[in-house]
Symmetry: C2
Subunit: 214 residues, 2 copies
């Protein structure tokens, strides 16, 4: 567990720096393809220019996500883990280096889109203020009980792709019940990143959390 | 990389045992919720009783998948990795132990449903004869280029949930082009595990591979 000890120390250093600079840091995690990038595209458009934003995106390969998010006009740093071993998560030292390329004095909200993976990213503190898990209704109801650490460690869940519900045998109440079995009272925002349905409560929550810190 | 060396040796021992017993071993991998279990439910029903089958299912927690697959009547062993550290993949020593609970003399096909994860499982040889990746059309077109190791290491890809295509902005040809960018000529079977559309070519391929070995 030495790797996690070293990571803890670096995460605390990150957290001190982000607090000193008055930056709220949000770590967004999910399975591959649950809709993190699409959700962030819509979130950034709705929250700016009231909140000054920047993004760090982690992937094994490609700059696809950074290119998509850059069209919103925010500063984006793409981290590709294949350059250093193909890690399936972002660690604190990687965030420290990526944040070095940003002007933190000019940012209120730093969003980190983590590597698509429901397991390892939840184990690595990166110095964030809050963690959000995006869960797609296309993945089945049972992910919270099959991958519990992620749902325990996150503050809120975004149940995404609700526009597809009419075409699925999916029991939304069962899925939320499973979430609350792992993390009682976890706020669950039901959204569609495609149609922007359900975004207002999510944006309100996020603005409130940023205001609490800064 | 010592972990992978030890794993390699164990995988070779597994492979010797499976060959000696005349068992074809298939390692099935995907993101969480792509449809591995649903695909295997349909596959087992279509391939039995001509082919004698057994399954080892890997998950962090729960026996949901083993319970579902057991309804087909095959012997199923559920491995929960939270009992030994919460690994996000199945390693060769875990397969060796789980296979110990099965009567390999009475099996033609041993299917391993791996832990839902597009990264780590592709790094661990478990002694299998073939690997299959299930990719859901709901995950977006770019997964093959964002998580290339999985697509390079697998022999075939099952493009699942094609029943949802009419309700998605999904470019199937772009997705297959991305697959072939990473793994030229990789066979891609377009299926729906919900409706069983497209299963015949997949079942034919699987029976052919089993016949080649046994
Ligand atoms: N129908 C529907 N499709 C969605 C929604 N959100 C995302 N998608 C689609 O889902 C696919 C994956 O979306 P992304 O936003 O790239 O997912 P991601 O979680 O960022 O993926 P990775 O970064 O690769 O892990 C794309 O085809 C999107 O168009 C939604 O609310 N409804
Ligand atoms: N529409 C549609 N839904 C599907 C299809 N295949 C699976 N599903 C649904 O997708 C969800 C996940 O399916 P599973 O078979 O449990 O997926 P899995 O890959 O085994 O999931 P994990 O083992 O947790 O990684 C469930 O709600 C299924 O009903 C399909 O072909 N079409
Ligand atoms: Mg993304
Ligand atoms: Mg499954």
């Amino acid at each position: 567990r030495r790797v996690l000890d070293v990571n803890e120390k670096m995460a605390e250093e990150n957290r001190r720096l982000f607090t000193q600079k008055g930056v709220f840091v949000l770590n967004v995690m999910s399975s591959p393809g649950s809709g993190k990038t699409t959700t962030l595209e819509k979130t950034l458009i709705k929250i700016m220019p009231e909140v000054k934003c920047a993004v760090i995106v982690g992937d094994i390969c490609t700059t696809h996500d950074a290119d998509r998010l850059a069209t919103t006009g925010v500063p984006v740093v793409q981290v590709n883990t294949d350059a250093f071993g193909g890690d399936c998560h972002l660690a604190a030292h990687v965030i420290e280096k990526a944040a070095g390329g940003l002007d933190l004095d000019d940012i209120d909200l730093l969003i980190v889109e983590n590597v698509g993976n429901l397991v390892c990213p939840a184990e690595f503190d990166i110095g964030e203020d809050s963690r959000v898990v995006v869960l797609s209704v296309t993945e089945g109801e049972d992910k919270p009980v099959k991958y519990p650490l992620m749902f325990r460690e996150c503050e809120v869940a975004l149940l995404n792709k609700i526009d597809l519900l009419p075409h699925l045998d999916y029991d939304k109440h069962k899925a939320i019940e499973f979430i609350h079995q792992i993390h009682p009272d976890m706020p669950v925002f039901e959204i569609s990143a495609r149609t922007a349905e359900g975004f207002d409560p999510w944006i309100k929550w996020l603005k409130g959390r940023i205001r609490d810190k800064i």
